[in-house]
Amino acid sequence: MSGGSPTPAGTANVVAVDGASMVFNEGASNEVDALCDIELVIRPGEFVSLIGPSGCGKSTLLRLIANLLSPTAGTVLVNGKSAHQARVDQDYGMAFQQSGLFEWRSVEKNIELPLELKGWKKADRRARAAEMLALVKLSEFSQHMPWQLSGGMQQRVAIARALAAHPSLLLMDEPFGALDEMTREHMQSELLRICAAAGTTVVFVTHSIPEAVYLSSRVVVMSPRPGRITNMIDVPLGDDRGEDTREDDSFYGLITEVREALRASETSDPVGGSVRGIEDR
């Protein structure tokens, strides 16, 4: 958190992944090395994108941090405690490619759900839901049902829900993947505004190079079989990014740098070929 309070040594990192490996179906004939010896440290306030071709384990790494999966080797710490404890404490919020709204709950009730499970009182929940709806600019839709909203609006509700408990960490798995290009760019700017306002640390899985560069303070490049981190690229575009950033020469320079890092990670792959599942636009 960027709260300024002194943090004891060892808990300063929001995420600390140490030697984590993930093998699915271990010992079986269909064994898959999803992740191999991952080392990743994320500091408070960082916006880190995980990028790589399909099957590089970027979503698996996100699920390890979320404790939706447990690593077969190594450790994952979130806010200085085990990923399991962090999940139980609801230290993070999560958003997926699909909004995953509960269709029998109104927009407001969807946002209140994580707070309900935390045992918040009704009045507090209502107040926080109103605050979150204002943040994602959907206040007038609080009583609507999810199916009455467009895809982009549903995704904004899902982000509001993920942030409702004011988590220090936001985990996002291709949250804008299903949106059209215009909505997507708009949502990217909205996300930066929201996270800057709340001082939230973000881990963001994407397969779009421009999206990763536009959003991130750091881009983590991954390669498949087995999934591993091959490169980390700092993105010094500053905190005040807007539509002008997308036209900037340094923006294009960084896109090229990430693309070349992805190509380089591919050449180390004996199977070779083009970079699959990566968008250059």
Binding site: A66, L68, R87, V88, D89, Q90, Y92, M94, F96, Q98, S99, G100, L101, F102, E103, W104, R105, L113, P114, E116, L117, K118, F141, Q143, H144, M145, P146, W147, Q148, L149, S150, G151, G152, M153, Q154
Partner: protein
């Protein structure tokens, strides 16, 4: 909905029905068809008016059997669906059996029930309806409790929700539309079952009995009058269950779409 819109929906089928009745009347009178083959609608109408009280009593008997079986079968079906959800092996054992039972005409069990229980009570008929409704409700509700969107389960896990919270806040609401779909199938099925069960003997009071006995004594106009009563009873059951489904479906609660339209399912 305004009056013209309602008329636009209701009027066409009513007109078609009236035309069909008119053609029926003309054919019977024009070709001089004998009443024991096919009575004219006018003859059926006067036969129905002659025995309105008796038809009402018969509808009440058959309708009560259907309603009791529907309620008891639904309650047991819901209870059993929770058991199936909780125990995977139970589900693997029972569900294929239930589907197989649904595919065969288990209504032929009525004579067996008539033997097992006294055929001077309504128990065999009500039991038959209960059994039919039970399987329909059980299979559908168990499906609703189990087939929860994986993203919803993942979200609930990320909120560290307990199994009980997942049940109450995810599985049960997910199963509600499945229950009403089951009721929409089961309600007319209950009437048909209650009605056909009377064909297999037992007490001489319901619609099914009255139709067979009037047919046997060649009172075709009276038989058709009871058939009309059976149609009305089936329609009432269907309309009530369809109305229940409509009232509980989330898509009906708020009118109008937000700009951009809907994309969720």
């Amino acid at each position: 909905m305004n009056v013209t819109k309602v008329l636009g929906i209701v009027l066409p089928p009513v007109v078609v029905g009236a035309v069909l009745l008119g053609v029926w009347q003309l054919v019977v009178v024009g070709f001089d068809i004998q009443p024991y083959l096919l009575p004219a609608p006018s003859a059926i109408w006067s036969a129905a008016l002659d025995r309105l009280g008796a038809i009402w009593d018969a509808m009440f008997v058959t309708g009560t059997n259907a309603l009791i079986g529907l309620i008891v079968g639904t309650l047991f079906g819901i209870a059993m669906s929770f058991v199936l959800m909780r125990f995977q092996t139970m589900n693997e054992l029972v569900t294929p059996l239930a589907i197989a039972l649904n595919a065969i005409p288990i209504i032929v069990l009525v004579p067996v029930f008539n033997n097992m229980f006294s055929s001077t009570t309504e128990v065999p008929r009500r039991l038959m309806v209960t059994l039919i409704v039970f399987f329909i409700v059980m299979i559908n509700v168990a499906k609703g409790l189990r087939q929860v969107a994986p993203i919803h389960l993942e979200l609930m896990k990320s909120y560290a929700a307990s199994p009980r919270e997942i049940l109450v806040k995810t599985r049960i609401p997910n199963a509600v539309p499945y229950l009403f779909t089951a009721l929409k199938i089961a309600a007319p099925g209950a009437v048909i079952t209650a009605f056909v069960a009377e064909y297999f003997g037992g007490r001489q009071n319901g619609l099914g009995y009255s139709i067979t006995s009037n047919a046997a004594s060649s009172r075709t106009d009276a038989m058709w009058a009871y058939v009309v009563g059976a149609c009305v009873l089936g329609l009432v059951f269907y309309l009530v269950s369809a109305g229940l489904e409509r009232a509980t479906s989330p898509q009906q609660q708020v009118g109008g779409l937000a700009p951009g339209g809907a994309t969720s399912s």
